[in-house]
Symmetry: C3
Subunit: 141 residues, 3 copies
């Protein structure tokens, strides 16, 4: 078993889904891992990870609209408002989605389904630099 590690840095410019899939594919291709598993971990509490539909951009717009409605901003009962109206909602949206994901690798590539893409879900309005830790285990002897 061999262990590979890298950090992926992504600049975000407002709320929404940012596609990580091409970055992950090229990183795993460069490591030439025949088969194994890839662990992803985002080091933030106001941005998260999701796997969702990659074919039609309207699916992503609906996910963004849904999250805005499910976790509304500016609620009168919020106590944690130091950093603005999107502060507490960003933590709520993060715990409803994922901070860690594990994806198998086969035939030198992530075994995503036909329509699956891996996305960073940014929950803050301002610009941010986000860090995702990539940790892969290659199972060859």
């Amino acid at each position: 078993m061999t262990w590979y590690k890298a950090t992926l840095e992504i600049s975000t410019n407002g709320k929404g889904l940012f596609d990580l899939t091409p970055h992950l594919h090229s990183q795993i291709e460069s490591w030439d891992i025949e088969e194994g598993i890839c662990h992803l971990f985002i080091q933030h509490t106001s941005a998260s990870l999701v796997i969702s539909e990659s074919y039609d951009p309207s699916a992503r717009r609906d996910l963004e609209g849904f999250m805005d409605r499910l976790v509304p901003e500016d609620q009168s009962w919020f106590q944690h408002t130091m950093e603005g109206s999107d502060d507490s909602p960003s933590h709520m949206r993060s715990i409803l989605t994922n901070t860690s994901l594990s994806i198998p690798i086969d035939d030198r590539t992530l075994t995503l389904g036909t329509w699956q893409g891996v996305y960073l879900f940014e929950h803050r309005s301002r610009n941010h630099l986000r860090k995702i830790l990539i940790r892969c285990q290659s199972m060859e002897e």
Copy 2:
């Protein structure tokens, strides 16, 4: 360390929870893994994985009813409606639950708690064939 892999195929006939637990137990038993970890990954964006109460079927019916209410179909603001009214909601319900899960193995079995079962959560109304990748690491020398 030894690496085991299989694909579990499950036919679904409408929305709801489908029990994967007996399939997983028999697969891991057949591999005779003394201890390690089992990674599950579902290759779809309109069906997902959850671990929940396995004893009382009414708990599962409540989970199904809850998800129908939390993520309503047929909203006027949906843009992604090509495949019907359960299309966009299926992606929303998937990102709120899980695409990947990791469960320890001890004493040749998944270390589920007394009341835990592993379920596929189907979010589409039509019949589907769903694929779940099973990847296990056995920790014996």
Copy 3:
């Protein structure tokens, strides 16, 4: 690769977030793992795991208030009410958060982001003893 395992037992006294971070740090420190990955698994369906903001306690109070509003108790359509009004909602809140988490280890510590903490989210009102399985892989030869 070396495999480490332990069970963390946490007493909860009502609904809310309980900080696991110091327990995890001291366990991993005692194992002296230079680098690898730490898998967490909670063996319950009415308590879950989340990674969230660790600095300001008001962020945690807002998460608790949010979950109470998102998944209300005492709904007339609940069928699973044997153990009281917080029974079915506890399973709903669990599937919206996490039963398993995987966190990388670097430099002998969990690679949490600056503001990240690991929490048990208790969804039942009564006192409970909760078990979290800790499974770590150390990647040194």
